[in-house]
Symmetry: none
Amino acid sequence: MTEPKPLRADARRNRARVLDAAETVFAARGTGAPTEEVAREAGVGIGTVFRHFPTKAALLEAVLAERMRRFVEEAQSFAAAEDPESAFFVFLGRWAEMSAAKNAYTDALAAAGADVPRLGPEIGAQVREAVGALLSRAQLTGAVREDVGVTELIALMVGAARAAEYLGEDAALRARTLGIVFDGLRAR
Amino acid sequence: MTEPKPLRADARRNRARVLDAAETVFAARGTGAPTEEVAREAGVGIGTVFRHFPTKAALLEAVLAERMRRFVEEAQSFAAAEDPESAFFVFLGRWAEMSAAKNAYTDALAAAGADVPRLGPEIGAQVREAVGALLSRAQLTGAVREDVGVTELIALMVGAARAAEYLGEDAALRARTLGIVFDGLRAR
Amino acid sequence: MTEPKPLRADARRNRARVLDAAETVFAARGTGAPTEEVAREAGVGIGTVFRHFPTKAALLEAVLAERMRRFVEEAQSFAAAEDPESAFFVFLGRWAEMSAAKNAYTDALAAAGADVPRLGPEIGAQVREAVGALLSRAQLTGAVREDVGVTELIALMVGAARAAEYLGEDAALRARTLGIVFDGLRAR
Amino acid sequence: MTEPKPLRADARRNRARVLDAAETVFAARGTGAPTEEVAREAGVGIGTVFRHFPTKAALLEAVLAERMRRFVEEAQSFAAAEDPESAFFVFLGRWAEMSAAKNAYTDALAAAGADVPRLGPEIGAQVREAVGALLSRAQLTGAVREDVGVTELIALMVGAARAAEYLGEDAALRARTLGIVFDGLRAR
DNA sequence: TATGAATGAGCGTTCATTCAT
DNA sequence: TATGAATGAACGCTCATTCAT
């Protein structure tokens, strides 16, 4: 359903280029950036963008979906780590950093919780599952308090990313601030 | 500088009406809402809006500045409370709740740190001062850890407001999530 | 309902200019002509066209309504003529000529019978009434056969106008062709 | 001239399929329908459509030409009928009915007279000849007035088809209206 | 030869801003 | 000073046409 047609090789390459360009442009200039900017960045004609994504909303959705896919991937790559506590906090940290750099990553996470109608519920479920796995393992080791659920955790990540974005350049400052949230998450 | 001319009474009233309308409209429909919508809500002509705020950006800035003014006012009203610990946390809580409803309050706070050049540094300083006062008093009582600065605190508030906004309706869930951040702020 | 607001004098003048221009342009180049052409012909900016007629469809409707208004007016001016027979045929002839010159007049008549949703039923009724009055009087004098109804008559006018348009320049040829239809209408 | 090259069998089959599809699509959705719709209906790629008809205009012309070919064919099939009077009127009637359903047939006829330069004069001549034959025979029997020429007759048919189209569903109403034109054509 | 992806001019429409009333 | 009509740049999107596969 997600990939109804096996596109030609060149078409698939262009689709990917457009998606990359869209991520870059929307992150840099906001989602209000003209679609033509995306086309220019991708090095294709405006018609090509609309051939692959029939409306601007569809393009935004695709960007979101792609980000969520990457997020799930990264979360899963941490799931098998030896030390669940460090896996949990390192993942959170890395992710907040990423989000601060390309602010819109957070929107992707946020979207997992709610709507974005066309996205389908599955991808949101995958996000929750991936994060939940990391959380559970960290809780089992006693490192993270028991009364935190996946929903609260995702909300905190959304918020932490926003905070990191707000803080801007200063890495040490960001780390210290994030540390406060981490401390709140730890079992006493 | 902020109010170069002593406006006539009716002009001042119109300015205020436009500002109110802008806050309402932009909160409800986003900052992309047409300026004409603001004029309609204010019950004035579009020309009047542009007379008082020569560009749309200027209008947005003015809305932000107004929000920050109110924020400072509220922070100050908590500054004299008997119990500094509770004053600190209750203020944070109330404010996150408010922001959850009208998320743009957050943007206002965020703007205090950096961007929005036209806003002038004074108003940002006032915010920092007002929040700082609450923070210091709470730290003096030993309720809040010493290694938190005003900048980190504001970042956390920005993030907490975003988290609360993300969580939406469920007040208990919001309280629990906010509580995690609060626990992170407390001295051990 | 048709004129909700008493427009400013200059606004009304511009509205009329746009309507005139639209009639000219759509008649000459077809309804597919770009709206900007209409603006150019009217000597106004494109925004002005859309201020007065919020969509292109609305503009087309307005052109149609205006034509029907004129048609009714002309029919009424013939209604009081001394000789009903000549009034009837002269009106039909004049009107077919007009339509041949500006082909789209016919569409207006045709629209009186059916749809064009927004136009409201009243104007269609007015057309039928105006034509019906001419017809009845001519039938009373015995000049026109009794078994012709308003609907048939309008259909014939629509068709006659199309025929005249098809014939183009040659006035004598048009007159002869129209005469055949007229003969069909006469009582034997 | 019309078929410069003897196409390969499959190419000719594709050409015919495209032509059929074009007639169907343009009749249903108007001539503004995208060429891609025609390709889809024909079950071929868009490239194939443009290979056979290098522009959309060329495709429209071909559809017109095809319609006229059929028209001539039908007229000829009536030419040898025993009763010229009934052949004449039955043919006109049948044809107006057809046109009412697929109004664009009319345009095809109209095109025989003048415009559509590419169509070549021959096909127009064929139409005139075929209709003229029916007309002459009917005039010889005294059923149709002598002062009607082929041009007037075609114009009347164009108009009658338009009238029938205007009248829509009601077959009895269409017949009555057409009857008026027929009466105009009859000798007194 | 057939395909369908790519192209980009062009269209309808919006909205910040200006200016005559 | 207040009004709202006028302006036109800019945007999202379509579709005839081209061309690499």
